[in-house]
Symmetry: C2
Amino acid sequence: MGTTTADAVLVREVGLRDGLQMLAQFMPTPDKLAWIRAEHAAGVREIEVTSLVPARLAPQFADAEAVVREALALPGLCVVALVPNLRGAERAFELGVHKLDYVVSVSRTHNLRNVRREREASLEDLARIVRARDEAGLRGRVRVAAGLSTALGCSYEGRIAVDEVRRCAAALAEAGADEVAVADTVGYADPKLVAEVFTAVQAETGALPLLAHFHDTRGLGLANVKAALDVGVRAFDASLGGIGGCPHAPGATGNVSTEDLCFMLDALGLASGIDLPALLEVRQRLTQWLPGVALHGAVARAGLPTGWRPASSLHRVATS
Amino acid sequence: MGTTTADAVLVREVGLRDGLQMLAQFMPTPDKLAWIRAEHAAGVREIEVTSLVPARLAPQFADAEAVVREALALPGLCVVALVPNLRGAERAFELGVHKLDYVVSVSRTHNLRNVRREREASLEDLARIVRARDEAGLRGRVRVAAGLSTALGCSYEGRIAVDEVRRCAAALAEAGADEVAVADTVGYADPKLVAEVFTAVQAETGALPLLAHFHDTRGLGLANVKAALDVGVRAFDASLGGIGGCPHAPGATGNVSTEDLCFMLDALGLASGIDLPALLEVRQRLTQWLPGVALHGAVARAGLPTGWRPASSLHRVATS
């Protein structure tokens, strides 16, 4: 075959937020910064570096200001922070992040339990955040990414109707989101559902960039990525070593592991711009930064194939 | 959407052969038989129960006769044995297996190291096996399945040219194989290559049943299954708990895990006929049968989703 077009895919590291948020141990700030710098050096160009929730609720992110400040010094890195509400967004504006992530659950029950309010209230807050961003003169400088969590299933509600996802996606666009993320928060997705849901969302969100956030809870993470790629999605969240998980599923992995995702994208001839051997070295260091934390991911366990080189050269070999 | 056609997929358990073949510890015959009986009771309808290599070369399979004999007593179970050569095939005929598996490596180097002969000699042996089967009056009663190993990559030769795979597939059909298996022996496949290779093979083997044998070495096992499904493949090897692996990749998994495969097929609305909760119970027993052996597989680790039911009912829920 031989791929000649360099079809680009954004891989966004969320391990520092989604991966750390349920960890009992505090990851020291210098280690977080070393992790961010090392991934940046390996070619990662977007990192969700922290969550701007109140420190009393999430001690893991008590160092948010310091982490954001140092991350902003890295050239070409898009620095993202999760914000739970307008107050968090205002902190994000003050800190100067490039992008903030704001999440609404498609599952009404999950939204109530997660942020103690109705989805409609969460959507109104999104509109307020966008307005506050614009009034602060930050339009064009700070992007508001809005995510739909539990969009592919919910531990409380089970399957989620695709029409509900579609309706929520339209509401995000209506509220002024600059990009839309669709998340399989609890790892219920399968490739068929992914194709169906992302196609439905794209019909509502049009030209807005669309990102997929998959957990590998039941082993389908990469199959789901492939299904999303097949319907045109070109941005994915991932966590190094697949860290993260769910308190209700002991031993479950977190997001798709960044290194396995990069391995597959490369094999498919899709350019992430990430140096995979360098990324695997960062993962090796992660075992020291997070002693006792189980890392997942098959490529690190098995090693790269004999004579592995990035896809462009491999595909040339395959055609000869 | 709502799937109404019951698209059927064959899941073949190969853990007792591919999973055990590199294990130093001998799995006691009663445990092997309990495993076979329990999977049969869970709905598995084809099991590769042993390898008919000389016992001095593979002590793990010294009990092949007893295992085959007991497996043959299970109603509706297709009993398969791997055979390395004509001598092994003759043993298979004597034992009365329903199907024998015979493998040729597409990689010349791998074939030389694995069975110490050229691929051409291996292909000639396949023709001899088919002839011996027919001369013994077993045509129609014993099927000869021929596999192409290293068809998606080789630890010695790296990438394998698709034209080589195509040529070998045509040779298997020419030699009289009743079915063809294509194996990613060392876990190098990716979904794009899978689509390419299986499409090429089908063009050569026409109406012969085609089976895919994937290892999950680098996390792409299920993504590769999905890619094969997308080009029409409807039979897959798998090993319970993903046991197996490769001596050159410490910690690597073996085949795609049977339970994760069944979970995905069900989610896709494809019927394997296997009772997933019952299969997960067999996997639980496997931890006792093989103490100290690392099991893989995400569904067993994370558990089934809340309120999980087999796909037909789920898809009804999704449409309501």
